[in-house]
Point group: C2
Chain length 330, copies 2
């Protein structure tokens, strides 16, 4: 059963991919069977993150970039992790029409994800969906996400190239620069570049990049591209910047280095999630949690002691077992 | 040493509180010693969450509300979890002057938190800082956070009363309503209510509240208040709405019900974080992770099998230990 879905996805079935993603969302055990089959066929797609404040025009930009990539003969996957994204249904009519034009292209696969309800966080979920689209045969996967919040930054960790979108006149543009977004940007995009203040913003970003010793030492200076996404202006240049960054990653050996880190991070995240699920289940089943909460509420116990006790129980028992195994061996 | 800090905080020392929060940020072990001392003295403060899109004027509103609460003779704590908040230094000069006026009041404690770098996520960190300000003797704690992202929604889970701030003319106001923010709002605040579109937005929100059967069944219909925070208009009314919600929670028994849930959630979150820290440490120390990553990168292993194997190892060993303990007892 699960094997069939994996085969269908590898043959390019959008419908099978949609089904698997729903399973992932529902934490259906069939998802993992299927993902196991697909895993050896992943790692081929190039992943581009597109992040920026709400109102920066990320969706229109993603849409335009997808067209440019299609013109180059490549298949595109789009993952929108943004409640205000037109892909998720909440947008102006004009935007929605543009998006639905994209959706008609059989070589584009669009998937929106709600930003809540995912056990283990969005970053884990997004990483899984990337693997599905990768196995489906999409050459480039665009992830659109708002640039606020820890979880959103973690999502971007899935990307090979990260584009940070800024717009002139948005008060928080500079704020975003402060909040550590400089470090994650491989390409800066000044969208709505026909607006007043575009030159200023562009200059400001360039100065910041050049002043920051840490950024200069990286070996890659993030280019600052200008786009007017609604008119399709500057998108070819943006794609060229992404391609240039890709080339840099490959030539410098950073590509496989980054990928290895990502694999390690994802594995840890999965082990973490599963372990917690199991521990939580046990604590709930044996009534240990309810009893502890009663004590906590009455202040007869504090959560720090509880935490240490429970983790020590698990730890000592697993170490005890290990020691026991060693004794048996010797 | 740690005992001294706890005593100082209970006596109202802002400096000692600042030190403890820094320890929490750095995951310094001294933090937990100190938190353990403080825990029995927490649970007294009333916690109000203030959330909304960037640009909704949350900081000015928080600032104005703090003044109203001070007029009522109560001590105020403010926790700003927002990179674009004036509390964190990034804002217009006028805003910053207003905030610094607040900072002079010895019965107001303001703390801003960066939205990244916290192990275990912002929600855990915010919950800890709430406890510190609670022990410090602040009667009301205001948490200001942007309403985007899972982690930010989790932060709001710490609040007794949640205020959702909307503004007319911001395109994403309605989007936020869609993204599940209706469910978490106990009080709606239409800020910048002197702007065009305020009546429309107000009507829209009211209709949504009345149409939503789930919200009607809750027993509390969120009031929709209008404010012009920069002029201080409507803030008394907003505080009255918060007080009314508090009274509702206490009368209906939901207050202690919610608090119990929060205690349970926080305990789980702490166990989650600690478990991860310990497991990660072990996997890194014994080289198990590095070896596995090598296999994963070469696709000789998939992460789902790895996850299951490692968790099963832990599980079986801890169960083995438990059975062994039981045998010893009998």
């Amino acid at each position: 059963m699960a094997v069939d879905y994996a085969t269908l996805i590898l043959e390019g079935s959008h419908r099978a991919a949609a089904r698997l993603i729903s399973w992932l969302e529902d934490e259906d055990p069939r998802a993992y069977e299927c993902m196991r089959e697909l895993y050896p066929h992943t790692g081929r797609a190039y992943v581009v993150g597109i992040t920026g404040s709400p109102g920066a025009g990320k969706s229109t930009l993603t849409n335009g970039l997808a067209r440019v990539i299609r013109k180059n003969g490549l298949k595109v996957g789009i993952i929108a992790v943004d409640p205000s994204s037109p892909f998720t249904g909440g947008a102006l009519l004009g935007d929605r029409v543009r998006m639905s034009e994209l959706a008609v292209d059989p070589d584009i696969y669009i998937r929106s994800m709600a930003t809540r309800g995912f056990l283990g966080g969005m970053a884990k979920a997004a990483a899984e969906v990337v693997k599905v689209l990768d196995a489906l045969g999409q050459d480039v996967i665009l992830i659109e996400t708002v640039g606020v919040g820890q979880d959103e930054v973690d999502i971007i960790g899935v990307a090979d190239t990260t584009c940070v979108v800024l717009v002139p006149g948005l008060g928080d543009a500079i704020q975003s620069l402060k909040a550590g977004i400089m470090e994650i940007a491989d390409v800066f995009v000044i969208n709505k570049a026909d607006r007043q203040g575009a030159d200023m913003l562009c200059a400001e970003v360039c100065v910041r990049i050049e002043m920051d010793a840490h950024l200069r030492e990286r070996g890659w200076l993030a280019p600052v591209d200008r786009t007017v996404a609604v008119e399709g202006t500057g998108l070819d240049q943006m794609w060229q910047s992404i391609e240039a960054h890709r080339k840099y990653l490959l030539d410098s050996g950073k590509f496989s280095e980054n990928r290895r880190e990502r694999v390690s991070r994802e594995a840890l995240r999965m082990i973490h999630g599963e372990l917690f699920r199991v521990v939580r289940e046990q604590l709930e089943q044996n009534g240990r949690l309810d009893a502890a909460v009663e004590e906590l509420v009455n202040k007869r116990l504090d959560p720090y002691t509880l935490m240490r006790d429970i983790v020590t129980e698990w730890l000592s028992s697993s170490q005890g077992k290990r020691r026991q195994d060693e004794d048996t061996k010797s």
